[in-house]
Amino acid sequence: MTPGRRRGTILFLTQPGIASLLLSLALLFVPYPALAGAAQQAKTVLLLYSYQAVLPANLEWDSGIRQALENTGQQPIEFYTEYLDLAQFPDEAYLHSLLNLLTIKYSGKKIDILIPVGDLAFTFLQAHGNALFPGVPMVFCAVAREQVEALKKPLKITGQISWVDVAGTLEAALKLQSRARQLIVIGGTAETDRLMQQIAREALEPYKGRLEITFLIDLPMAEILTRVSHLPPETIVIYLSIFRDSQGTDFVPRTALALISQLANAPVYGLWENLLGQGMVGGHLMSFTAEGRMTGKIGRRVLNGERPENIPTVSEGTTAYEFDWRQLKRWGLREVDLPPGSIVHFKKYTFWEEHKGEVIATATVFSVLSLLVVGLLINLGQRRRAESSLRQAELQYRIVADFTYDWEYWQNPDGTCRYVSPACERISGHRAEEFLQRPDLVQEIIVPEDRELWARHSCGAFEKPGPREIQFRLQRPDGTIRWIEHACQPVTDDAGEFIGIRATNRDITERKRAEMLEQQHREQLAQATRLATLGELTASLAHEVNQPLSAVMNNAQAALRFLHRQEPDLEEVDEALGDIVRDGKRAGEVIQRLRQFLRPGEMLLQAVDINELIKETAAFTRNEFLARNTVIRYSLSDGLPPVRADRIQIQQVVLNLLINAQEAMNQSEAEPREILVQTTPGDVGSITVSVRDRGPGLPSENLEKIFKPFYTTKAAGMGMGLAISRSIITSHGGRLWAVPNPDQGATLTFTLPVFQEDPR
């Protein structure tokens, strides 16, 4: 189907579609009683067709009439339809029976409007309408003007006057075939055929001088067909209608046309729109559907109450210039010669016509591409030069990368490696190709203990931008362990798209070894200092151990004596043994504390309650300080968060500060000998501990020198206490300093960071 046709069809299908949809919607909102009332007032239309039921024209009229009438949507319409078939059965008996039949059928029926379609039905109703349907208004359809005008007296009727434009068709044909001299007019012998010929003769009267006009009328169909196939050149054929040929054979006009136009050796023109597609070229064509529609419109006005005599008859609006494109092509007729406003059906568009847009677009694209090709060719020279300098740059960068001392690599988002610098072999013992081929190799050679660290680091790599650093160990194929400092950062392209990770692995084994050695030395020194510190507290410690031991011994001896009495006092023995157990435990705890304090070991940072640690540490000094008449007072803040510390090392610092404070007061006659230990929340994320004494104070010239190793004011001191204390506090991320008190003595203060779950 061609686009033009399709467009028309859609239009026709759509409008009633919408209309019926609207109607349905309207009905939906009409209350039932109103609907029932409307049903009672349903208008009744009686359609009387002149011809047999299956005549194509009948269907078209019918559809036009119904469309126009029902389109109002205001009231339901009931249709009665009669096919009088008077052309085929013109005899009296039939007429009589027909009248009888109609009388029987419609005697009790209320008919609101009569619509005779065609001349025969019209004349039939002129003769019998009053008897059959007295007082019913009539709106006729497709009736010849002559018939209407032949009425003797003006009647209360109106309707649509049918006309066919033979002259219009001929004019169009003459435009297409300007050199034509012959006109053949083909018709039949039925009453309607005769009527058509009469119309044609009148219409063609003006053309008699210009054209040689031949009517092929009273001929058998076979003869007609023979004649049309042997026409001289430049002939115009106009087909009127053939309901019946000279031999009395009945035809449907469209079938007759199909036969004729198929065999004709000249273009055949016609008068009816519904015959288009049957082989004719076209013409000024009358549409039965349009006739029906015009009639329906008038019928609607009558149904709405208008008096028929007040409505003028209508003849316009039923014709159009319509042509069959295929036939134009068949006869070599040009579209440009068609009358203005012509509708061309069945058009097969050329590729250009059908795809004009695409063709233009494609052509445009090709043009642009061609321009681009030219541009690219011009560019090529520049590019070659650019590429050359690019190669040079790449060489430079590659040399830089390949000769880096560190193991550099670039990882794609999928985890594979894009580049690995050759230094990886020196560090890991594996060649760059191995890393390129096996993305998981890095993970595999990391020592098992550090793999989790590595995995955790990798997981978060894309989430946060910026570089990240970790340290891990890997094992080389020869079994040796290497410490690696790994730094990486996500790389993005100009558009901000993630395109991988750039990373550097640096071998820090030597540095790590030195660090560990230093740490080890520091720990050893710290331990030695702890031992020295405890040496100063031997009296205290001996007392701490001796007290429970002494109690144990005396209890045991007492128990023995109670047991060896004449009458053993078991109650006392029981109590003594209970006390022995308790004191044994107590002694054990003291020893345990001491052992921990003296234990050499790696720094173990954990959450430590600083107040508790201070009290625990002060217990070491208890007896010593008693002997020296020294009292420790506490001002410890409640609810402090735990600090991040190595318990033993901080104990060492606290002990050292306490002993220093005490000894400072031994040197002077300060009374009372009082040490104030204070804890306070420090700056954000830290806690401050201060130890205040009432001794002689600090050397005024250089406060810092007390922190120097081997600085001491004591005869027996090593001079390491404060130096070690400071190194311990610094390694914890805190500070240790001294200030003289305004009145007397000095205060030593240190800070420690607050413990956080994950210091990262």
């Binding site: 031997t538 009296a539 001996a542 007392h543 151990v545 001796n546 007290q547 429970p548 031991l549 002494s550 109690a551 144990v552 011994m553 005396n554 209890n555 001896q557 007492a558 128990a559 004596r561 109670f562 006392e572 109590e575 003594a576 006390d579 308790r582 004191d583 107590r586 007896n623 008693l626 002997a627």
Partner: protein
């Protein structure tokens, strides 16, 4: 506690040590009275308390050595046994000089402690007997007239009557009378007895 009863007084701030000592002393039938601090002991003690005192050298508040000083100052003459966890020479010298019976290191063996206690108790007993004798002598001496006391000092210095009479500017006969009165008042039968008594009373002989 009545005045005649003697007891072992224990002063130690450490409850374990105190209880153990108390139990050990009781196991040999001694009467024990325990105190948690020197101050508590001093608040209750009277000169009538006899027996001995066991104290820790190091205690909060008043130390054992300070307690000893305080006892001497108050004339509460109880023998003191010191216990110490970690003895230092200066501390023990000072304690012993001040009259301590013993200076024992913890942990102390029961026999050592009990021996020390025994010694202390005996010393206290002797001391109290001695004190009583001195008191008796003093009473007798108090009955002498000043002239008789003067004569006594000459006699115990070995002077004969004639010398004494010459020194005092009187007759030998008068001195003889004084001498008889002195012997009678002091209940002495011989010169030797008289000399011993004077010595006990601490009367200094003349040159």
């Amino acid at each position: 506690m009545n005045a005649v009863e003697s007891a072992v007084y224990v002063v130690d701030d450490d409850v374990s040590v105190r209880t153990a000592l108390e139990r050990l002393l009781k196991s040999v039938g001694l009467t024990v009275q325990a105190f948690t601090s020197a101050r508590e002991f001093l608040e209750q003690a009277t000169p009538a308390w006899s027996g001995c005192l066991i104290a820790d050298v190091r205690m909060p508040g008043m130390s054992g050595l300070e307690l000893q000083d305080e006892l001497n100052a108050r004339q509460l003459s109880l023998p003191v046994i010191f216990l110490t966890g970690y003895g230092t020479v200066p501390a023990s010298v000072r304690a012993l000089k001040a009259g301590a019976v013993d200076f024992l290191e913890k942990p102390v063996d029961d026999q050592t402690l009990l021996d020390a206690v025994q010694t202390a108790l005996e010393r206290d007993h002797r001391s109290r007997l001695h004190q009583a004798e001195i008191k008796n002598i003093r009473q007798r001496l108090d009955s002498l007239t000043p002239r008789e006391y003067e004569v006594l000092t000459f006699i115990i210095s070995g002077r004969i009557n004639k010398q004494v009479a010459a020194e005092l500017g009187t007759t030998e006969k008068t001195i003889k009378v004084h001498r008889a009165r002195i012997m009678e008042k002091l209940q002495c039968a011989s010169l030797a007895e008289l000399v011993r008594l004077a010595e006990k009373a601490g009367i200094q002989a003349l040159d």
